[in-house]
């Protein structure tokens, strides 16, 4: 591991620990929901990182189509996988928050439905990409798919802002009067939220870098094996 990687990893671990301590010790206990509201810091941060990953996948896809460099395809593919892991965590933590607050694990609310669609669309991206054998066709197909798939991200973001939903909007105004679990942010909550978002963004960057390196090694191996077969 190179020196800058060690510094990067160390900063990520330190910030993750700091953010977790802030969630439990610095952020105040919310009056109505109690301690379960603290899930919100993890839930929003993982959702944010997941959507950031899909944005990176989009950038990688566009860059691949422009340059045809395999590195961009590898980055895009890595970002989709990491994004799926993070979005899965956001869905699970959201469900764990919903059980005591909404009295149900799951409901087909616009926000939850659009998030599920996003999750399924990106899962299909991984499965379909792996089904294509020719590396160039696979990369081109994955790039076009990643660009189209990204449409689900703004739809998911806007679903809770434009449609009638029970999903609370903590950052920004909500048009839905049916939101359940809505709460106002105190300054300490804002500090904790900002710290969590920075920590999770760093965690995402570390996971993305690790996954990208795996993808590069995988494709290097495939290249060597193909050369061996030809020889």
């Amino acid at each position: 591991m190179r020196a800058w990687e060690r510094i990067w990893l160390g900063a990520t671990i330190a910030l993750m620990i700091l953010a977790t301590l802030a969630v439990f010790l610095y952020a105040p206990r919310e009056a109505k929901m109690g301690d379960v509201q603290r899930i919100f810091y993890f839930h929003i941060s993982t959702a944010w990182s997941g959507f950031l990953a899909f944005a990176v996948a989009l950038i990688g896809a566009i860059a691949y189509l422009r340059t045809r460099s395999a590195r961009w395809d590898q980055l895009s593919h890595a970002a989709v996988e990491v994004g799926l892991v993070l979005l899965t965590m956001a869905i699970v933590t959201g469900s764990l928050w919903a059980r005591p607050v909404w009295n149900t694990w799951w409901t087909w609310d616009p926000r939850l439905t659009t998030t599920t669609i996003t999750w399924v669309v990106y899962l299909a991206h991984l499965l379909l990409r792996n089904a294509v054998e020719n590396p160039e066709t696979r990369a081109r197909f994955a790039a076009v798919y990643a660009i189209v798939a990204f449409v689900t991200v703004p739809i998911t973001y806007l679903s809770a802002r434009l449609l009638r939903t029970i999903h609370p909007i903590v950052l920004g105004p909500s048009v839905s009067s049916e939101a359940q679990g809505q709460f106002g942010l105190t300054p300490r909550m804002v500090h904790t939220m900002v710290l969590s978002l920075i920590a999770w963004t760093l965690l995402f960057s570390v996971l993305l870098w690790m996954r990208y390196r795996v993808q590069r090694a995988q494709e290097t191996l495939e290249g060597i094996e193909a050369a061996a077969e030809e020889a």
Binding site: H43, V85, T93, L96, W97, L207, V214, A217, Q218, I224
Partner: protein, 52 residues
Amino acid sequence: MGYLVAAYLVFWGVTFFYVLYLLRRQRALEERIARLRARFNPEEGEERDELR
């Protein structure tokens, strides 16, 4: 409190196992690449001998 602990366990658990999975996969791939390169090296040596 139970739901809060469960959420945090899910997060740390998934992160831990995903990092472990990536590290193992990386190591396995690097070992395979090293084995393949080692297999090709003697041939490269022979080619160099022929050129001499």
